[in-house]
Symmetry: C2
Subunit: 491 residues, 2 copies
């Protein structure tokens, strides 16, 4: 079976012009690198594999690779393969390309420029379960029996409205239950009317990018940050400005007189993703006053702060001052299970009615029965109980994993800004290629993510993101042994 990359190359190859096959292959690869369909730092297939997949001679592939290497597009690292050079001129990579007009009859099979760019920067992992898949909770511990009984009870007297499209941004019962829960657990101040239920936080971010931003508007995003937000902002034409993060969270820069202020400021203040730092009070206040002054919207993604293992919970930015320009996003993907596809947005008063209508227009909500069941699940205390139970369990797993890292590799390998969430970062020396290491581990059945992939710029830290949510300690130990063996060969 052909890989996606070789599929892409084959596609470009069919369109390329040139005297002979190796020149056409060279040109197809070069253009794919320049328009970032193949991302900087990514590994090219081995010449033997690419030749087999494209059904051409290996010498042709080698000739094309040699030319690309001579011109500085790619480099070969002994023992690990051929990689796209990470130091390509930044303009050529990050700039939004002006969409080339498709010539007629050649369109077929082609994606749009923005679509091709998305596929050149994919973040979703092919696997979603197993050590150390980050961001996935232990769904086997979800109390199905309680859920099923609630659902059966509600099903008996079900109003047909719950089976139709949703109105008013979701079910009122869930909006009310969330209002109470968020006030107590997250210091979020809102009324049920401010809550919009979405099918996941990606849908929420897509809505905000469309309805609050136009093409070419700027958003500040954290550096490093979650790949998902980058993809969604980018495909909606929003220009991203990466803002560095340190142990106090995002460090908001000054905005000069002649500068266009950001339309959106995307932050994870309770537990920075992926580094884990907590935004300090001074930074929070500064961010709020910048946003008020310049008319920016802050998007606070509070994706997993329910799981905090030491210290007191960090109140949400949303509740820090009345009517703050903050749009708060929360999700049940981490606290219950991702496949439920229920997230929620707490909207500022002035935006709520409009964004609920826009949401209906663009996505049409539904899942009324799930929302009703979830409301009962929260109101009867099962949600809080499940979180407390899982917090204990995840805390133990976290400690066990941290101990493995410290004992087997040393304290310097543990990057620890805070003690929360569902993942740890295994810090690596700069000379270690985290992307190559993660790829090698994946072939051995160990799922990790390379930290450098969370950065937009090439000045990135190296490390592996290790999720401890979805498997128990003995499984983690087995996977960690494989990880150590691979890593130690590179140290």
């Amino acid at each position: 079976m052909r890989s996606l990359l070789s599929d892409l190359i084959l596609h470009r190859l069919e369109k390329a012009t040139g005297n002979n096959l190796h020149q056409r292959l060279y040109q197809a690869l070069r253009l794919a690198i320049l328009d970032a369909s193949i991302t900087p730092g990514s590994r090219l297939p081995a010449s033997r594999d690419l030749a087999a997949q494209l059904e051409i001679s290996r010498n042709t592939v080698l000739a094309a690779y040699e030319q690309l290497q001579a011109e500085g597009y790619i480099q070969t690292r002994a023992g690990s393969g051929t990689f796209v050079n990470a130091d390509l001129p930044e303009d050529g990579i990050n700039a939004e390309a002006v969409p080339a007009k498709h010539s007629s009859s050649a369109n077929l099979g082609q994606l749009s420029e923005r679509g091709a760019k998305l596929l050149g920067r994919t973040g979703v992992a092919p696997h979603q379960w197993g050590a150390f898949m980050p961001g996935v909770p232990d769904v086997t511990r979800f109390p199905h029996e309680i859920w099923r009984k609630l659902q059966n009870r509600l099903n008996r007297k079900l109003d047909p409205r719950y089976l139709s499209y949703s109105r008013h941004g979701g079910g009122l019962a869930l909006q009310q239950a969330l209002t109470d829960y968020l006030r107590v657990a997250r210091s979020v101040n809102c009324t049920p009317e401010q809550i919009l239920i979405t099918a996941g936080s990606h849908e929420a971010i897509d809505l905000l990018a469309k309805v609050l931003c136009d093409q070419g508007d700027t958003a500040w995003i954290e550096e490093p940050s979650y790949w998902g937000i980058r993809n969604i902002l980018s495909i909606n034409g929003v220009v991203m400005q990466p803002i560095p993060v340190d142990e106090n969270g995002m460090d908001p820069p000054d905005i000069a007189e002649n500068q266009t202020p950001p339309r959106l400021i995307c932050v994870t203040p309770s537990h920075q993703y992926p580094l884990g730092s907590v935004m300090s009070l001074a930074r929070r206040q500064r961010l709020l006053s910048l946003a008020v002054q310049h008319g920016s919207w802050i998007i606070e993604d509070d994706y997993d702060s329910e799981f905090r293992y030491s210290g007191s919970p960090i109140p949400a930015l949303q509740g820090l001052q009345p009517d703050a320009p903050v749009i708060y996003i929360g999700t049940f993907s981490k606290t219950l299970f991702p496949g439920m596809r229920v997230s929620y947005v707490v909207l500022p008063r002035g935006l709520a009615a409009k964004l609920k209508i826009a949401h209906s227009e663009l996505y049409r909500g539904g899942n009324g029965l799930t929302q009703l069941t979830l409301a009962e699940f929260i109101r009867e205390g099962h949600y809080g109980a499940h979180i407390r139970r899982m917090r204990l369990s995840y805390g133990k797993r976290r400690n066990a994993l941290a101990k493995m890292i410290e004992q087997e590799l040393g304290k310097e390998f543990l990057c620890e800004f805070s003690s929360a969430g569902l993942h740890l970062i295994l810090a690596l020396p700069e000379r270690i290629d985290d992307v190559a290491l993660s790829a090698e581990l994946e072939q051995k059945g160990v799922l990790t993510r390379a930290l450098s992939g969370y950065y937009m710029r090439s000045t990135s830290r190296r490390g592996l993101i290790l999720g401890y949510g979805c498997v128990d300690i003995p499984q983690m130990e087995a996977a960690f042994n494989i990880l150590c063996a691979c890593l130690k060969q590179r140290l």
Copy 2:
């Protein structure tokens, strides 16, 4: 409570400049009409109501309305109110406005230009249940007991993967069940790998608009067409070219040498929405050859063709020739219930892998248990049985409603291109304002949609779309009596 329209006006008013309030109000309204935030043909609030909502004097509103009327922006119709003129220069309405740059500190509370435009053209109804809500099936007849038993059985041996994010574009069991069903029922030829499960067809269209089109690319859409597709294409920067529909469906025009061919061609060939015509074989073949020649993708939205009451089922365009450039969209919203939020896309072979990855990146799928249950529901024959049962029932309702129209109003009020789907069109003489009639009926609890709202251009037919899916015959009779009384006053 302020209406959305007065909210919009208030917003524009705050930004408007002028010597006195009525000039500022005039300016705010004029700009909102010009950028189509207030759509042509729509009714403005009565001066008394707008004055009360904006907390200004009624004379101020009257002065602004008078100026707008003098300049030809609005017109007053005796007994029915003040309306935005439908004959505004077309360029000013349909052209994609160049986004104005937001000035700093004035942003707060503002939507983006594309967001404001969306809210000026909303299509979602505030109610989703009752006579004659179109597009909603009778969810009370859904076999809950069978569904619950299936779900309980599957839940007992549930793999944690079904509770996590989806991979490969959805659950394989559902993809397989759909492949078999679609081949037999809809003459769709595909393998399970070509099927992508989405959370509703809006998500599917959003994905296609993003990944197959760039800003400024053209899509052909039917005139009239479903409001949802227009909103989604528009907010993704796709320029729409409305193509007239007759009793043989969309009539594809020639594409001249110097013309840019459409990137997408959006059609409802089995049952045109909302007029109901079936695309003729000659038109289908012409459309396919145009698409192949010019490299366009045809999007075939087969939203309710399961319900056909006479004649044989119309095979899908997708299966008409091997490897046709057709992307087929189907949904369970009409056959089971809309709140389920499960639709599916049959992708051409060359696009399948890429679009599945793009879907994961942008929306992350899930709902694994629902998909698994649905697969069993189809495989065990419950799906086919439910469709047959409902087809009988809807057929009776349709006949009853058609008879009411013929007997009470006359045959000329029945627009009948075909005998399928979940709605009928009550055709109205051109002098009747269908928007105003529909608004009056809504206030009396009778839900309809004005046919003219489905047109992009002002040369539209008048009529009311009457759904007969969601209520029984006695309820329809009661609602029809109210409708007749209102209509007869205008005839």
